[in-house]
């Protein structure tokens, strides 16, 4: 079983070598599927729900397989590459994604708090923050949301996100900042720590 969204053990065959081998032996590519399909499934299930996740993961690997000749062997880790493909596929479901987040607004949170002050006093929990987060996510421009979620949910670094989306690292930073600012504003931005940033 492949652990989700974790670092690669140092001792195993590098993804780049697997991809290289698959150029002459296509079946070798299945190893990549075994490594990352569960991870990608979990990621897509977060953004789009389980209904489409399976097909989308299958499609991701089909596309990756078709493009394996163009994989840059200088990168041992194929995750950013796969996340890049999956992000493009997710973007076709943009409307469904927003609808999914908005649907969270209708699900009542367990603990309801009255004002931002109470929230701070009680400690903001994921559950109470859910409607606010959901609203913020639904409202984010797709480009910013992609960056934010690749980092928060895909566990990619800035450099990896840059590689996945084929954009400069500086752009990753600015999109992330913009997205986080909006998320914080939606949360009421009650944390004084953020003012320093």
């Amino acid at each position: 079983m492949v652990p989700a969204m974790t670092a690669i053990p140092a001792d195993r065959v590098r993804d780049s070598d697997v991809i290289g081998e698959s150029r002459t032996d296509p079946e070798a590519f299945a190893a990549l599927f075994d490594r990352y399909s569960s991870m990608l499934y979990r990621y897509v299930s977060r953004r789009l729900g389980p209904e489409v996740a399976e097909d989308l993961v299958g499609e991701t690997f089909l596309i990756a397989f078709a493009r394996r000749d163009r994989y840059d062997g200088a990168y041992p880790d194929a995750r950013p590459w796969l996340f890049g493909i999956v992000t493009k596929l997710v973007s076709r479901h943009r409307r469904a994604e927003s609808a999914r987040y908005r649907a969270l607004l209708r699900t009542p949170a367990e603990d309801v708090v009255d004002s931002p002050d109470d929230r701070v006093a009680a400690g903001v929990t994921a559950r109470s923050a859910r409607p606010m987060l959901a609203r913020a996510l639904a409202a984010l421009p797709a480009r910013d949301r992609d960056v934010l979620l690749l980092i928060a949910w895909g566990d990619l670094s800035y450099e990896e996100v840059a590689r996945a989306l084929d954009i400069p690292v500086g752009t990753v930073r600015s999109r992330l900042n913009r997205a986080r600012k909006k998320v914080r504003a939606a949360l009421g931005d009650t944390n004084p720590m953020h003012e320093e940033e």
Partner: protein
């Protein structure tokens, strides 16, 4: 608390564990037809982003339940309802002299061609007065395949912009129109349902047992008879061309609005017919959902039945007994056993606004259906 931390918590809450069936996707990697499809998708992106996206969504095969059972549902709806009426209301169109002998076994695999047309004459005139002389064009073409065991259904959407070889057909004035290349929807315009069926049969080599046609005004009346259907719009719609204004969010739309929504081509999605196909499916699903509650309300049921019966035409082979049989078997198909496919397409070289079927992917799809259609007993994959 940290916003990223909260976001991660939310992510964990939304996460689903991969099902055992995920392993099936692994097999697709080594399925030659799937690979050809994937290669086509990648290659298609040279023409720009939109083209790439169209190609990708066109050749995608999905089991997404949001799209499941839609067209099969429509077929079920149009097929189930007239059975109550027997054959007294709906029009029946037969065969023509170019047709030869047609046979259809009462049991065994079944293929039904559903034609959504935009007859802009008569009651449809207001949806495009300048089109009146053009005759009816098939706006939506669905091929519904039911294997012999009737435990599943496969719905294949044929994009209307597909450039294809249209075989020799007889026009409504009796003249024979020679074979030529044109958009697939012109077959219906030129030679009616018989020509549409013949075209699909020639191209796919799949025997079409029955055809069902429904026109725009019929679609509208059916929805009104249902008391409107519920759809959810992620964005407000304001499209002058379709004369449609709708707010964002969940809402009940009437026939007129639904028709507009199904037809918009410019202000929603990527402007392609493929995107529109998807919206039509959304509506069909909403209709089916609503239609399920109908039997409880006899008065509404009667209105609905009349609306459907007067807005569809079926072929002569589809008699009352057969309809009853079909309806029964369709109702038994579980939504989860319905797959939805669009014929794989790519841009037509001579005109980027048209499509051609992507080979060999398209033939592979038809071959599979054909093989299943020829079998006396269907295998359960």
């Amino acid at each position: 608390m940290d916003d990223l931390k909260l976001l991660r918590d939310l992510g964990r809450e939304l996460e689903h564990e991969p099902p055992a069936s995920l392993a099936h996707q692994r097999r697709r990697l080594f399925d030659p037809s799937a690979q050809a499809q994937a290669r086509g998708q990648v290659g298609g992106q040279v023409g720009g982003r939109t083209r790439g996206r169209i190609l990708m969504s066109a050749s995608r095969r999905t089991r997404n339940w949001a799209m499941v059972g839609l067209a099969a549902g429509l077929t079920a709806a149009v097929v189930t309802v007239p059975m109550v009426l027997r054959s007294q209301y709906y029009s029946v169109v037969g065969v023509d002299s170019l047709d030869g002998k047609r046979a259809s076994a009462p049991t065994g695999p079944l293929n039904v061609l559903v034609i959504g047309s935009d007859t802009r004459a008569g009651s449809n005139r207001k949806y495009g007065p300048h089109m009146e002389d053009d005759g009816a064009r098939s706006d939506t073409l669905l091929l519904v395949h039911l294997p012999a065991d009737r435990k599943s259904a496969e719905v294949v959407s044929i994009p209307r912009d597909s450039m294809v070889q249209i075989p020799e057909c007889r026009a409504s004035d009796g003249k024979v129109v020679a074979a030529h290349i044109d958009m697939i929807n012109s077959a219906y315009a030129e030679g009616g349902r018989i020509c549409a069926r013949r075209t699909v049969e020639t191209l796919t080599q799949i025997h079409v047992d029955h055809t069902i046609a429904i026109d725009f005004s019929g679609f509208k009346e059916v929805i009104d008879a249902l008391g409107g259907v519920e759809i959810t719009l992620p964005k407000a719609v304001d499209d002058r061309k379709a004369k449609l204004r709708l707010p964002a969010g969940r809402q009940v739309v009437d026939g007129e609005q639904a028709l507009g929504y199904a037809r918009i081509r410019y202000s929603l999605g990527d402007g392609s017919d493929l995107d529109r196909i998807k919206r039509q499916h959304t509506l069909i699903r909403a209709m089916v959902k609503k239609a399920k509650d109908l039997p409880a309300d006899p008065a509404r049921l009667m209105t609905f039945i009349q609306a459907v019966a007067t807005s569809i035409t079926v072929d002569a082979g589809l008699d009352a007994e057969r309809i009853l049989y079909l309806a029964r078997s369709l109702v038994a198909v579980k939504p989860s056993a319905t797959t939805f496919t669009t014929v794989p397409v790519k841009p037509y070289p001579a005109d980027q606004n048209r499509l051609v079927w992507k080979q060999p992917a398209a033939d592979k799809l038809f071959e599979r259906i054909r093989r299943d259609s020829e079998r006396t007993t269907a295998d359960s994959e």
